[in-house]
């Protein structure tokens, strides 16, 4: 038996020596090698044998006519959905695959509906959370009955604030919050009616508003609305 050849490059080119498609420089080199190498000579014979076997005239005679007519009818649009037809015919040929490909249409619709609903909900939630959430003291949710909201100028000390509120007859009932806003109400509202309490609140807001150290006063209650333009 011939020893194996170490010239791998030549070995890779042998199929094209056999089919006659090797370009002259390579062909001359490979032919020269094959003449001297028993292993490659044997391999080249195998390649020629395969070429001969595979290019022998076929026993089956193909009749392209019907296929061509089928193709032309597709081109002319007489077979509008060839792909679907093909898929169906393939599935018919393989019943197990056809079974695997079948899905109940109702269930498919239900799943689609759930998916769409889910995506819509996610999209709405995402949009909601992506929006900046502003809160304002003008918002009705922050209305506290019988409370005046007040902000002082930043330079006013805690002691001055207390003294100012005391002299105005107010007491702190809320705050200060993160923005330095206090909620204050008249110092004594015990035993007063709603109308009296409202009047007291308006009077308190007016008193506070006159002080230069008060930045703004906001009576949020509709009953106690006082015009307090921001300074």
């Amino acid at each position: 038996m011939a020893e194996s050849c170490r010239n791998e490059e030549i070995g890779l080119l042998l199929p094209w020596l056999a089919n006659g498609r090797l370009q002259p420089p390579d062909r001359i080199r490979v032919e020269a090698h094959v003449r001297e190498c028993e292993h490659c000579a044997r391999d080249a014979s195998v390649q020629r044998l395969m070429c001969d076997a595979l290019t022998e005239p076929d026993r089956v005679s193909y009749a392209p006519g019907p296929s061509f007519r089928k193709l032309m009818s597709r081109i002319d649009g007489r077979s509008p959905a060839p792909r679907e037809e093909r898929r169906t015919s393939r599935l018919r040929a393989f019943p197990i695959a056809a079974h695997a490909a079948w899905r109940p249409p109702g269930l498919a619709w239900a799943v689609s509906f759930l998916l769409v609903t889910g995506f819509a909900a996610i999209a709405a939630t995402t949009y909601h959370w992506s929006q900046p959430r502003y809160t304002t003291h003008f918002a009705p949710a922050h209305v506290t009955p019988n409370v005046v909201h007040i902000a002082f100028v930043p330079s006013v000390s805690v002691g001055e604030t207390e003294a100012l509120l005391r002299s105005a007859g107010a007491r702190v009932v809320e705050g200060p919050d993160a923005t330095g806003v206090f909620g204050v109400s008249p110092a004594s509202t015990a035993g007063t009616s709603t109308a009296q309490a409202s009047a007291q609140l308006r009077a308190l807001a007016a008193r506070l508003h006159t002080d230069a150290r008060v930045r703004w006063v906001e009576p949020l209650s509709a009953d106690a609305s006082v015009e307090t333009p921001e300074r």
Binding site: P15, L54, P64, S67, L71, R74, A97
Partner: protein, 201 residues
């Protein structure tokens, strides 16, 4: 119908002309081109897919593309490289789909290993066909394009859209596997002589 055969530069020029006419909607040219390629493609596609209907389908899918895209053919490659490149992609997809289904539904016919000599070229071809069926699809296509359709390494690389060295490697592995499956190929001279003698009987 006598099959037209075009070989060499004249054949290539003829095919280029046919494609140019197809691009203008010439149905006669299209039919001629179809007939020209039908036999070539039928043989190797039938051997590849082992189903006539699938081979037929791949051919028609290929020529459907040829009809629609003929105007894009610029002659930068040979017409056969262009057409077989389309056929290769169609065949590969069809083959994979078919193989997946066949795995699920059909028994795979294993090649019975034999040390007997083939009685003739036809029998050898049958054996080769069955041995080829056991190769991976890329290797099988490379074998068909090289041995049967006689394409150069560069043409096969263009058809299969891969580097030249990949084609060489695919064929190298295919050859090694075929020789394992068909031990009689190890003695090609006696096999060839017997096969030819059988063919003459």
């Amino acid at each position: 119908m006598t099959e037209p055969t075009y070989r060499g530069p004249a054949g290539v020029a003829r095919e280029v002309d046919l494609i140019a006419r197809v691009a203008e909607g010439d149905r006669k040219a299209f039919e001629e081109l179809y007939h020209l390629y039908h036999r070539r493609m039928s043989r190797f596609l039938t051997r590849l897919t082992r189903r006539y209907d699938l081979a037929e389908e791949v051919i028609n899918d290929t020529f459907w593309i040829v009809w629609r895209k003929a105007h894009t053919f610029r002659g930068e490659s040979q017409p056969s490289t262009w057409i077989l490149g389309i056929a290769y992609r169609k065949a590969r997809n069809a083959f994979r789909a078919s193989a997946r289904l066949a795995e699920k539904n059909l028994q795979v016919h294993e090649l019975p290993l034999t040390t007997e000599e083939p009685a003739g070229v036809e029998e050898l071809r049958d054996w080769l066909g069955r041995a080829l069926a056991q190769l991976p699809v890329e290797q099988r296509l490379a074998v068909e394009l090289c041995y049967e359709l006689g394409h150069s390494c560069e043409e096969i690389a263009a058809i299969m859209d891969c580097p030249v060295n990949t084609v060489k490697t695919r064929l190298f592995h295919a050859r090694a596997k075929l020789q394992k499956l068909l031990p009689q190929l190890a003695n090609p001279v006696s096999t060839l002589e017997r096969a030819r003698a059988g063919g003459q009987e």
